[in-house]
Amino acid sequence: MGSFATMIPSVLMIVAPILITAVGGMICERSGVVNIALEGLMSIGAFTAATVHYFLEPLTPLSIWIALIAAFFAGFVVSIIHAFASITLNADQVISGTGINLLATGGTTFLSQVFFKMERTAPFRLGMMPGFSGIYPTAWIALAIVIVAWYVLYKRPVGLRLRACGEHPQAAASAGINVQKMRYVAVLLSGGLAGLAGGCLVLTETIQYTVNTINGAGYIALAAVSFGRWRPLGVSAASLLFGTAVALAIYMVNIESLRFLPSEFFSVLPYIITLVTLVVFSGRNYAPRASGQPYERGGS
């Protein structure tokens, strides 16, 4: 049983990016926009962080943090596309999100070719180092983000207004709230957080960015949002659950008693768990009422 306890830092390392992305997804959906593009935005963030860190590593000890900030901005900027398409132009949010995912795969590989002449980024020497008791700083970053999100959503006026946009945008508009502006902020924020999460992932779990780096983490985060009933506490618990499944997949091979199972079993475990929880807890009734529906302003 000791081996499970020593796994905790690794579990937190894997949970952190999922949680950060899920918080962003939650904020976004609470404002009424569904952001399927989280996967692609994480990829973009991961690529950006890996690239920036690679180039800055020999120059400054702060390159990790600069890389993370750059990752946030990369996600922020690219999600402008999704925001513009779904909010201003009332596009089908799932299709535009899927398009961004396709764009992200192509774009990051394209830029890798341009910068590194290969389909992946060049490996950096040293990623983020674990801190106190082996826990990576990203876990604390994730925790801070959840707490701030909870505080703003439920205690601040802007949170009350944002949630109103997701439940009944016409009511929010009649109360003087600029629904479009709120949704833009939410989408851009979720893009930034997804980018940041991608950066955290690549800097803690691996040494370079490839097309397989994110491997469904963005979609798992999306599932965590609905499993967590769109609330900070639930989303945290869900992210913890899914992240643990992913961690088990990687570290189960270290546990003697389970060696007989093929490695694919562990690889597939997180996705099966996600799917099963989706089925068992298909919480349609808890979604923000106006989530996913284009908002049209009245009057001519």
Partner: protein
């Protein structure tokens, strides 16, 4: 005379129609001014202009003598103009207080929302205007009447002194209507100016001092309510002498077609919607279900159609138990349905007219061969036939997309399809919602014609006038229960209204007394 609002020469044009044609409206300070008109007369557009939702092509607006250009609803609110919408703009899972303060939240020193101060303010306003609400209740748990009070408090919280009420009584029980009339009187007593948009003559007579009548975008006249009779106002509204009573022959009801026995049905949220409901409908009669929206009528119809599961009780069609039969089977057995939301349940808007007309019969010959191939020629001819019989106007005939048709013609298409099925039982819900007078008359005459052919018809409508005009027998529904069945010829509106509110067998005179007391608090 001091005018609070003057709208001078307002003209508002949309593609294809002049919605407001050189309208001049003058509302005095501290009066209740009614705007009367049918659907489409332009009263809604005019108030949208006042509230900043639209910009007029021509015309000026004066607020207490000073010209203003109202850019958007926020600007209107800042000027002290507030609007209580017909479809409430409330967040279903927020509390009453949160809904009222949304957008104008009181803050504490740290900038957080100060719910304590908010609640105190809500209580203060609630007491001042005697608008009874529970500040901590969640919107989806409270009655429609209380929800409307929340809407009113919203605009009072923002210090409105000119209040626009948009068809406020459409969703209220007669009891709640009386309460609202009392509220309006109180608001006036507190110095507010009120504009009341409505097509209900009785309410105008009850509270308004002056009334402006609109028809087809133009002002017909502005009258003193005391000096004008209801029939005079109605005639101005419609443009001719109005027939309040539809001429119809005696009903000759035959054997029972539909029998509902102790039916209990739950709504989508899991609570009881229909409770121990029993009713028989015979061949050749029209039975009406009178009630305010939300009392179980929708769930009742859905149960009969087969869309909703029945918790207990039975549904019998011509003696056969259909309670557990599927929708397609019930259609085959002769159930026709004109749904209350034609665009959601009645038509596939992206289908052509001819496809919509065979929506229930597509699998039968001649529209479909045994191997499953559609016969487009037959489908088109069928549509052509129905277009002629029912006078359905569609720009490109059978090929027109349903989406492009007007509401009246969409409704005609649905009715045509259902009647053409020659159903034993015809269910009709809100048949004339959103239609103009011409279409309404046509549809009413069609319904009577079908009754005379021997169909059993069950009619659900929120318009008491429609029920009383068309039906042979009327059952009132309140909170899912049948509260008494009366013969239409002997029915008194007040009595049915009382039943709709859940009160059984109260005498009309009692009600009048109560209404009088509530309208004149002293």
């Amino acid at each position: 005379m001091a005018y609070a609002i003057e709208m001078l020469g307002i003209t508002k044009v949309f593609p294809g129609i002049i919605a407001n044609d050189n309208i001049t409206l003058r509302v005095q300070e501290n009066e209740i001014h009614a705007i009367l008109g049918e659907n489409g007369a332009g009263k809604s557009t005019l108030m949208s202009v006042l509230f900043g939702l639209y910009t007029p092509e021509e015309g000026r607006i004066l607020l207490r003598g000073k010209e203003v250009h109202i850019k958007d609803p926020n600007h209107a609110t800042a000027l002290g103009i507030g609007m209580v919408h017909q479809h409430f703009k409330l967040i279903h899972n927020y509390t009453v207080t949160e809904n009222i303060i949304l957008g104008n939240e009181p803050r504490d020193r740290l900038g957080n929302i100060d719910l304590g101060t908010a609640q105190k303010e809500v209580e203060r306003l609630s007491n001042m205007y005697r608008l009874e609400v529970d500040p901590q209740a969640v919107i989806e748990d409270i009655t429609v009447g209380m929800q409307q009070r929340v809407e009113i408090l919203k605009i009072l919280y923002r210090k409105a002194d000119i209040l626009i009420f948009d068809e406020p009584t459409a969703v209220l029980t007669p009891q709640e209507i009386d309460e609202l009339m009392a509220i309006l009187a109180r608001l006036k007593a507190e110095g507010k100016t009120i504009i009341l948009i409505t097509h209900k003559l009785r309410e105008i007579k009850q509270v308004a001092s002056r009334c402006t009548i609109l028809r087809r975008g133009k002002v017909i006249d502005t009258v003193d309510v005391d000096k004008t009779s209801e029939s005079e106002m109605a005639a101005m509204m419609v443009g001719r002498a109005v027939q309040f009573q539809i001429k119809k022959a005696e009903a000759h009801p035959g054997p029972v077609v539909l029998s509902l026995q102790n039916l209990s049905v739950k709504n989508s949220r899991g609570s009881s919607a229909v409770n121990d409901f029993s009713l028989d409908v015979r061949k050749g009669e029209i039975v009406g279900i009178a009630g305010v929206d939300g009392n179980g009528q929708s769930e009742l119809i859905e149960a009969i159609v087969g869309l909703r599961h029945v918790e207990s009780g039975r549904i019998l069609l011509n003696g056969q138990d259909v309670t557990s039969k599927g929708i397609a089977e019930r259609i085959r057995m002769g159930v026709g349905n004109v749904p209350e939301d034609r665009q959601k349940h009645g038509l596939v808007l992206d289908f052509r007219l001819d496809e919509n007309l065979i929506l229930k019969t597509y699998a039968r010959a001649p529209f479909c061969s045994r191997s499953g191939l559609l016969n487009f020629e037959a489908i088109r001819q069928n549509a052509q036939r129905l277009i002629e019989i029912f006078d359905i106007r569609a720009a490109r005939g059978p090929e027109t997309k349903a989406r492009e048709m007007s509401g009246g013609n969409q409704q005609k298409a649905v009715i045509a399809r259902e009647i053409d099925l020659s159903p034993e039982l015809l269910l009709i819900s809100q048949p004339t919602r959103g239609l103009d007078v011409g279409a309404i008359e046509y549809i009413h005459s069609r319904i009577i014609a079908e009754r005379d052919k021997g169909r059993a018809i069950l009619l659900v409508s929120f318009e008491l006038d429609e029920i009383m005009n068309l039906c042979d027998r009327i059952v009132a529904i309140s909170k899912g229960e049948a509260v008494g069945i009366v013969d239409a010829k002997q029915a008194d509106e007040r009595e049915i209204g009382a039943m709709m509110a859940g009160l059984r067998s109260l005498h009309a005179s009692d009600l009048e007394g109560k209404a009088h007391l509530m309208a004149n608090p002293s």
